[in-house]
Point group: C2
Chain length 331, copies 2
Amino acid sequence: LAASAVEMTEPVIVVLSAGDPPPGLSEHVCGAVVRMATAAELPSALGGADVLLAWDFTSDAVAEAWACADRLRWVHTASAGVDRLTFPELLRSEVTLTNSRGIFDAPIAEYVLGLVIAFAKDFAGTWRLQQSRRWQHRETERVAGSVAVVVGSGPIGRAIGATLAGVGMRVQLTGRTEKTGDPDFGTVYGAEAVPELLPQADYVVLAAPLTEQTRGMIDARTLAVMKPTTRLINVGRGPLVVTDDLISALQAGQLAGAALDVFETEPLPAESCLWELPQVVVSPHMSADTVGWHTELVELFADNLDRYRTSRPLRNVVDKTCGYVRAGGGS
Amino acid sequence: LAASAVEMTEPVIVVLSAGDPPPGLSEHVCGAVVRMATAAELPSALGGADVLLAWDFTSDAVAEAWACADRLRWVHTASAGVDRLTFPELLRSEVTLTNSRGIFDAPIAEYVLGLVIAFAKDFAGTWRLQQSRRWQHRETERVAGSVAVVVGSGPIGRAIGATLAGVGMRVQLTGRTEKTGDPDFGTVYGAEAVPELLPQADYVVLAAPLTEQTRGMIDARTLAVMKPTTRLINVGRGPLVVTDDLISALQAGQLAGAALDVFETEPLPAESCLWELPQVVVSPHMSADTVGWHTELVELFADNLDRYRTSRPLRNVVDKTCGYVRAGGGS
């Protein structure tokens, strides 16, 4: 009887995954019932489940299967962005939403710094010339002293800003609302300041969450105020940028280049002209994903699961009113 | 008579240049006689000259024309390396040799950091996949925590080391002889320690002067002790590496890649297989050359010329016994 009572309190965990199960997860879930589910299997798997781990965070499967979530109390996503999960039914519900904030900061910052230097030193031109065995000396740009406007003042934006400042760039960080007295950046500018900051930027780095306020923020209007020498780097979410406007601006020489790791549609369709615009770098949503990242993601979920089972506060609880984890919102 | 006496003390300056004259030089040489000369014209230009500015520092023209230098007192090179100028006749002579130490440090350090991140994040793979419009997610490497052995403890090596350490890499700097208590690096290892350091290196960065001690230091023997995951970056001088040994090691998978900005023969001949080895990045000796570098080089020469004309100590005097500027050897 006692054993049975314990069993009844053990959570039923659904893992939404498009492929392999999360590595090492089984070591952390002893006693719990774990149901692996693809997007197609999610509706039937959700019935009676307490916890959903969105290991595959790239589909709209959760929104589509939501009606079957009859007992769900907690959704955890193996991503920093929660835009696939902030649909009205989940936002209105009592279900707690947590994300994987903290895993991606430093890897993305390294990646962005690499893209900046690759632009400044024309690595793309070097690779192109190498293919035709052409020795063609060029003068390149200094990185130190150039100006970066980093959009997004969460941990990822802050890590990017600190890393770029570390090589001597002048960094202006923007968030939702202006904050002064930031220990690292002095003033963090508000969203309303972005149009005034963009004309000074040599690099515009997008690391903001996708919310109704940030969707489409880089469009014909904001692109028009950038310098023709500006490069845009998007490691946030594809819909931060109006792709057609970006393509037009690149073709018109309104800006000098773009490095895009995220897209309105992923994978980027083979017919997109972004693949072959000479000033564009296309990478497959990988800026955060370093060897071992799956293990770190599982460990973060396991720690939260331990907190869930012992009724302690979860880490990385998403504030459903703004669509991201507020500073201090979980340790 | 007085005017004539002044004229007689004005120096005759020969500028060895393969193309355009140094920008703005004329503003700094008022009163002096300036003779522009190509490599072929150098022998006739050197007769009666006091000063030689080796603006073109890539040829052996100075060694070949040396017999015609009947009054030369000072040679300045628009480069950091002086290997084209350390031929026995000049070394034995009373002629002072100065270089352009200090102009190249920070640009080269940025360039090397970019190459490191490009390797870690597989930018070459990204460009290759983009050309065939293929969306192929990969996990990449962290830069922080990886180990760099930087060969060369002059200002360029030190700038590289500091920049790589700034992104969290573990840096081991090596020079000619071991020095402890370095304010930035703790211990600077001696040349004899290199074979012991190489097996730990994720990146081996060559930024040493080309001397009899360093020539060919990366050969079959030293390549054999590197890890198969090691990448070699050469921004120093081509002959630091035995090219054929490097090619063999790359083809055998003894190391993971190489980024080469300098070569035993420059320009790299079109038939070299380095152009198309998949793990190799070939760039045309440009790591130091940022927009404005010519102006900085002229200003450094002009400052030294002013010192020469007023009999003050020159900056960047090369110690002819070791082949580079010793720390403290000029301001």
